[in-house]
Symmetry: C2
Subunit: 508 residues, 2 copies
């Protein structure tokens, strides 16, 4: 190799599109024999600063030894293309990234030190800017897990997460919100609570998430009914016109550090109360909320497993909220069974529509949960006495104002549409007479995902028999819905190999 160092520094390479998706991790692909790798001493897994039009990101290097790239080319993962806003053929400059001082504060936490506001700000700012590798984030999460964040640190972390992104302001109070800790299948109360609260006259700018490991997220369900990928100005127009919205949080990017932390936290399966509180409350505060109701389902397979744990979490949520100027009201609910009948975006949307349209066979459990939570939100309003909220909510649902408001919100977000119907269905029936004694929620979710949910919006399943129901041999227990025959077959294969997903036992 021979080149003039003065001409090539800082070593631009031309970008080539490889089409490799590493999820949210920025990766750069370079040839091991390119002049940048040789000059800078970069090797596989090196952290590399990639600069494009004065905008820099930090990416992990994957070295390419084959024929994918020319010597003066570099590839990027899809996440890196998005972060840089680059196009194929653009030149990028490559260098060693600056030393991250905030990592010394992560190490301090690992060694058991307490972190202050400045520490948390430095760490969260670098995380939000994409400067941490996943292993650094993992070490930070492990150091904060269990009871290793005290209340002051939780408050500092929450504030740092709010400050790392945009914060909406609505010019009046109260601005209300609701959140559910730990997903219960079918628990789509949000789509009922928002129109009730907005019809009452309160402001409720709701952002929701998509499914990551479950068959449907609230944003996936709402998307079968209207548009959810609104940017901040569009979201603001909807809320100013109708008092409420239900949009995908990923498009508005409030509390961006939280999205990055969650991506690493999920596969670690670390149950960190401090992180949970900071995650939930930072999103709410960044959305401009002043008053929040938080649903804490308690059950053996739910995130919170005992009344005592619910009480401790409730205390930390309320106290952290107080410190950052957010009024928090927690509601402990039953987390032992799925809610409603459908599992999958369109099937859950049908349950919601049945409740809003007051259909005779609307799922009672979904309706009553939604009314209880809406009631708690309405009690934030001046003039609504404690215990009165649920009655006001019931009036608004029963006289059709909630349904009218939901139609108006959908119209404002891009138009109401009906959720799709699956082309292929198959009913799984009881092999014997008896009583339903167990429903395996985890394997039911797996069936719905094998059938195509949430990617195929009509896919999923419909439960016909709740726990305790008496059934005759041959009666349908649940129906699998799929958009393609192959996916239906794959789900049914799984069911055949896994007997007892809904267990029916003969009575003695």
């Amino acid at each position: 190799m021979s080149y003039n160092a003065h001409q090539t520094s800082p070593h631009p390479l031309r970008l080539k599109r490889l089409g490799i998706d590493t999820y949210q991790e920025p990766v750069i692909y370079m040839r091991s024999d390119c002049h940048v790798c040789r000059a800078e001493g970069f090797e596989a897994q090196s952290r590399v600063q990639v600069t494009h039009n004065n905008h820099a990101i930090i990416a992990t290097l994957n070295v390419v030894t084959g024929e994918l790239l020319a010597p003066d080319e570099a590839g990027l993962s899809e996440a890196a293309w998005r972060l840089l806003g680059a196009r194929a053929g653009d030149a990028v400059a490559l260098s060693h990234p600056p030393v991250l001082d905030s990592l010394s504060r992560v190490r301090a936490k690992v060694y058991g030190k307490r972190l202050g506001g400045g520490d948390m700000r430095a760490i969260v700012r670098d995380i939000a800017a994409g400067r941490y590798a996943d292993i650094h984030i993992s070490a930070f999460l492990a150091a904060c897990a269990g009871d290793r964040l005290d209340l002051a640190e939780t408050v500092a972390l929450t504030r740092a997460m709010i400050d790392a992104g945009e914060r909406l302001a609505w010019g009046h109070a109260p601005v209300v919100d609701k959140h559910c800790v730990g997903g219960l299948p079918g628990n789509r109360t949000t789509l009922i609570v928002v129109p009730i609260v907005a019809a009452f006259g309160l402001t409720m700018p709701k952002t929701s998430s998509r499914a990551i490991t479950s068959p449907a997220g609230t944003a996936d369900v709402m998307e079968t009914l209207t548009e959810v990928e609104l940017d901040v100005p569009a979201m603001r127009r909807v809320v100013e016109r109708e008092g409420g919205c239900i949009v995908w949080g990923g498009a508005v990017r409030l509390s961006p550090a939280d999205d990055i932390l969650i991506r690493v936290e999920r596969p670690l399966d670390l149950d960190s109360e401090g992180q949970l509180v900071a995650s939930v409350l930072s999103k709410k505060a960044a959305a401009g909320s002043s008053h929040v109701v938080i649903d804490i389902p308690v059950g053996e397979t739910a995130k919170v497993r005992s009344r005592e744990a619910a009480q401790a979490l409730s205390h930390r949520l309320v106290e952290t909220g107080r410190a950052i100027g957010l009024t928090v009201q927690t509601v402990v609910t039953d987390g032992t069974q799925p809610v409603g009948r459908g599992i999958g975006p369109a099937l859950e949307a049908r349950d919601v529509l049945a409740v809003l349209r007051r259909e005779a066979d609307a799922p009672v459990d979904l309706r009553e949960r939604a009314l209880r939570l809406a009631g708690a939100v309405l009690e934030f309003a001046p003039g609504v006495a404690p215990g009165e909220g649920v009655h006001r909510a019931r009036e608004i649902l029963d006289d059709g104002r909630a349904w009218n408001k939901f139609e108006a919100i959908c119209a404002a977000q891009g138009g109401l549409r009906m959720p799709p119907l699956a082309a292929h269905t198959h009913a799984v029936t009881a092999a014997r007479r008896g009583r339903v004694t167990a429903i395996d929620n985890r394997r039911l979710a797996r069936v719905a995902k094998l059938a195509g949910a949430p990617r195929a919006p009509a896919a999923g399943l419909e439960l016909h028999m709740p726990l305790g129901a008496e059934v005759e041999a041959g009666m349908p227990l649940f129906t699998v819905h799929a958009e393609a025959p192959g996916e239906l077959a794959y789900a049914l294969d799984y069911i055949a190999a896994q007997p007892g997903i809904v267990r029916v036992e003969a009575e003695p």
Copy 2:
């Protein structure tokens, strides 16, 4: 998509070579629209079990959206090809990996619980088998960092790491070894200690590491003189013939979990005493050693910064060694300055040869350090009294037996060769008269790496002036060596932009 689920399960894909090196992390590349991703619900970053000829590994999924693969093809990272022993065109079956029970023990440690022998064995076995993602390893390391491993846990971790790989046996005792905690530039005593000890008659089967972030590792230096990539049978033949060897540890794969832990530990920069002890002692025990001398350099820029810290580390090394049947002797040495004159594989080898061949200008500091450590090792032998070892070592070095033994070891490993000379050199001179008051080791290492070390074995630099030396204007301070003119230019550019790497101050 339409397919018969009975035919395609378990979904084989054909392997295509893409030539992407992710260092040691196994990655699988699949199209998002391939039937496996759709049927199994795999997404970018999913963990996927890849089975080839009844051998299974777990890889991280990168989804390919472009034209890299046909619909029935999958690519692998270089690490995954190696682990599977697969060839292009082979079929692999893909499935969800089994749940890793040992992760619940990692979480227990994160939450502050103590781990027992069974816990450590389960964790280390899964790590050695490549079943952990890097973020899981990072969480484990963070949970064990600082003082969070007590002595019993350190012993359990050390035992688990020994049990996870092969363990050599030599049929007699003592079998000796030496190790240096924390790299000091130029500290290549190993290449002098091994021939002295082997010439004395003890058995010393030494494995060394290559550079990861430094300009040279001991194996890189030895490789400029002879072969170092010996497998276990070849290593055994050398040791049985000559009593000692100096080979690359990566080729013999003793304590394989340690290699994986170190890969994640390094970028985290976590200084974990328990991990360090388990890492060092598991390698020594797996190599079949019974008696080990451990060099602990103490200095402001060394790994161990105070006498107190050295004492604590020494205590843990000795006690853990006692528990696993290994006699450990620690030697605390000066860690304030680099050792010898060369930095870079061939230049450091030249320092070693000068000492072994008793040349007049051989670096005294390297010679004296090596003699002290060799002396400590010799005192493990029956009949060598405390304090006597260093004199025996000096005799063996001074009468030429050490050099003869080194030549014999190199001959047995594949033949002695002379280290290469760089084609391009440039002397950096003093701008003024004065005294050398500071040498920035970190930036010196950077210069050596920019000049091409360790990849270009002749590259690096030679220091002419130690701390405190008096110099005239125009006298050379150090000489940069490079194999290519471009690399020399690049190193000199860096030096020009970074004045004061060797600081000369006028005396008042």
